[in-house]
């Protein structure tokens, strides 16, 4: 260990000094929080070469030390202990004794627990287990939904079905403006992109009108149900998870149970029902505005006639195309409601837990929507042949 002394002055004169000599770290003067950065630097500088052995921290020259600096001294002892340096506190002035005891400055420094970094395989394994647990939770929820649905059919008053209309309004009617805007723009952008291709060679062969087919089929089969479900997931799925999570935190779920009511039938069934009713309806609205968006782009950029566009759309888009979208939207609605409610019921740890589960709801739902869309696209296409 080296030796040396540092004195830092303030406008009122020397404030504190840190000096290392003969195996002892001498602290003299006033050690206040105002100068904590400088004090911390000096304590580190004076002990940077310390490895093994022992070091006495001599407080006999100190006039005042406040709590923040006491905390720094405790932290220094812990750091030195990690380097194998045993430290002793000596010469504590009587007026500082109670503060020294309060902060445990003389107690043996805490041993720092070495955190073993988790291996990549362990991390992948843990994440896989977590995903599996989440999936298991949703499947268990699906099973309970079936059981509750049957019980509800026998005794409808146990299901709090009067909550369905307000939920339909919140998840459905209130979502109409955003569903209309998003889906109109999706149809418009798709037709506009296509028209930039079609305005050249295709227009020469009179193929520009096929934009109506492209937009009509893509919107009704794929984009309208998917975009609508994404909007509902962001609006209502997140809201359901936060709502149920907050109820759990505040003890409302326990209160329901001790009234002899099943929170699942009370909270989950109405939400699933509301989304099953409203998401297909919103999807049909999205079908119409998506086609209208395509029409606007087709008319504006390719000079197609409105009547011709509608006739072409009617010929290209059959009832089964619209039906595929509606079937998908029902599946999406059940998935969003189940994931949101399951995440809400899994909340723990207060407001932070509600936030985490709300985020998980959106992420899990989006993932599920894309996977389900892929699965149902294949199934429904095969079924429709």
């Amino acid at each position: 260990m080296g030796s040396g002394a540092t004195t830092l002055d303030t406008a009122d004169g020397p404030a504190f000094a840190v000096a290392l000599s003969e195996g002892a770290l001498h602290l003299t003067g006033d050690f206040r929080m105002d100068e904590a950065p400088a004090i911390w630097r000096e304590l580190h500088r004076s002990t940077e070469g310390a490895r093994g052995g022992s070091l006495t921290v001599d407080l006999s020259g100190t006039h005042a030390i406040d709590g923040a600096v006491m905390a720094l001294i405790v932290a220094l002892r812990t750091e030195l202990a990690a380097r194998g340096v045993r430290t002793d506190i000596q010469g504590t002035p009587s007026h500082l004794r109670s503060l020294v005891e309060l902060y445990g400055v003389e107690a043996p420094p805490e041993k720092r627990k070495k955190r073993e970094p988790e291996s990549a395989i362990a991390q992948v394994g843990r994440a896989t287990v977590r995903m599996g647990e989440g999936l298991e939770g949703v499947i268990a929820f699906l099973g309970e939904l079936v059981v509750s649905g049957l019980a509800l059919a026998r005794s409808p008053r146990k299901g709090h079905l009067k909550e369905v209309p307000p939920l339909v309004e919140r998840a459905g009617a209130d979502a109409v403006p955003i569903v209309v805007v998003i889906n109109f723009l999706v149809g418009f952008v798709m037709a506009y992109q296509a028209s930039s291709q079609a305005s050249g060679e295709l227009a020469v062969f009179g193929a520009a009108l096929y934009i109506a087919d492209l937009v009509g089929l893509t919107v009704t089969r794929e984009l309208a149900p998917l975009m609508t479900a994404i909007i509902v997931c962001g609006r209502s799925g997140a809201a359901f998870a936060a709502e149920i999570g907050s109820m759990k935190i505040s003890g409302e779920l326990d209160a329901l149970r001790t009234f002899g009511l099943r929170p699942f039938a009370w909270l989950v069934v109405p939400r699933v029902l509301a989304l099953v009713l409203i998401v297909p309806a919103l999807t049909l609205v999205a079908d119409v505005v998506g086609v209208l968006g395509g029409l606007c782009a087709g008319v504006a950029s390719l000079g197609l006639s409105v009547k011709g566009y509608f006739i072409e759309t009617r010929e290209a888009v059959g009832l089964w195309d619209v039906g595929q979208g509606v079937i998908k939207s029902v599946v999406f609605a059940i998935a969003i409601a189940l994931i949101a409610c399951q995440q809400g019921f899994s909340v723990s740890g207060g407001a932070e837990g509600v936030g985490k589960r709300t985020t998980s709801t959106v992420v899990m739902s989006l993932f599920a929507l894309v996977v389900l869309d892929a699965i149902f696209t294949i199934i429904l296409q095969e079924f429709g042949r």
Binding site: T258, F259, G260
Partner: protein
């Protein structure tokens, strides 16, 4: 079984205060019997060998410092958690199964746990709507009467967020009484309330006990509440997780057991955790 200091088993009277006329309404028949209840998993013990009775008509308290398992014990008694070791009889029903229907008690949770999307009136009406065939006007009349009983006659149309903490506690008590139970559980009824509001809640509990003959089980660590209203109590220990004393509060307060006296003297023992 955990060794407990049994103090004044026969004592029925509250040590002081409002509930002093309780003896003639109490009988020795237990309305709750908890027998050798042990809760835990692995090496973690939450409750160990807990055994006690609550008599009909008394105000009974589950006491103890924070972290001793008071609220955990309540959750097992009311059936919110499944019992694996031991037995709990509540009004003749063994190990309450909440999925099997309406339990034979009312309960007020800490902070009220009122349904935020319902008005106060709707909160009180909910159990009546679910478990009776009363017409809507009768349900409304009963709910309003319950609210008047707890001094909230004007709060029928208000939402819980519009009420103060004390009013929410009162509304939750009104909701717990909706179906005319003979037994109510109150979890920390005066927690986080100013002394005057807490005292009003305590007076209300005594009034309900005396006027309606209610058996009241209170979970609390508020000394003022304990001495004012409680007839008999058990005390749980944070370290052993078992009962360390039973009896009237003033008798517990005179206990020689340092684990009991530190709670009543508000002085931690040297070396005690927490």
């Amino acid at each position: 079984m955990t060794e407990a200091t049994s103090i004044g088993e026969g004592t029925r009277e509250p040590s002081t205060g409002a509930g002093a006329s309780g003896e003639d309404r109490q009988d020795a028949t237990p309305i709750i019997r908890v027998k050798e209840l042990t809760v835990g998993w692995g090496d973690v013990v939450l409750l160990k060998d807990v055994t006690f009775d609550v008599r009909r008509g008394e105000i009974f308290a589950i006491l103890g410092p924070s972290g001793c398992g008071k609220s955990t014990l309540l959750r097992y008694i009311v059936g919110l958690e499944p019992i694996e070791v031991g037995e709990v009889l509540v009004a003749g029903r063994r190990n309450i199964d909440l999925d099997a229907g309406l339990p034979p008690f009312g309960i007020m949770y800490q902070g009220g746990a009122l349904f935020g999307s319902f008005t106060v009136g709707e909160n009180v009406e909910l159990p009546l709507e679910e478990w009776t065939d009363l017409p809507p006007d009768a349900i409304t009349a009963i709910a309003k009467a319950r609210l008047r009983l707890v001094g909230l006659g004007g709060a029928y149309d208000k939402f819980p967020s519009e009420l103060s903490g004390g009013m929410r506690q009162r509304a939750a008590i009104a909701r717990s009484l909706a179906l005319e139970p003979k037994l109510v559980f109150l979890d920390e009824p005066s927690a986080d309330l100013d002394p005057i509001t807490a005292s009003e809640i305590e007076d209300l509990i005594v009034t309900l006990n005396e006027s309606l003959g209610l058996t009241v089980v209170v979970v609390t660590h508020e000394l003022e509440t304990i001495f004012r209203i409680v007839h008999r109590s058990i005390m749980l220990d944070r370290e052993s997780k078992g009962i360390i004393a039973t009896g009237a509060p003033h008798e517990l307060a005179e206990s020689d057991d340092p684990r009991v006296s530190e709670f009543f003297d508000r002085r931690p023992r040297r070396g005690s955790s927490g």
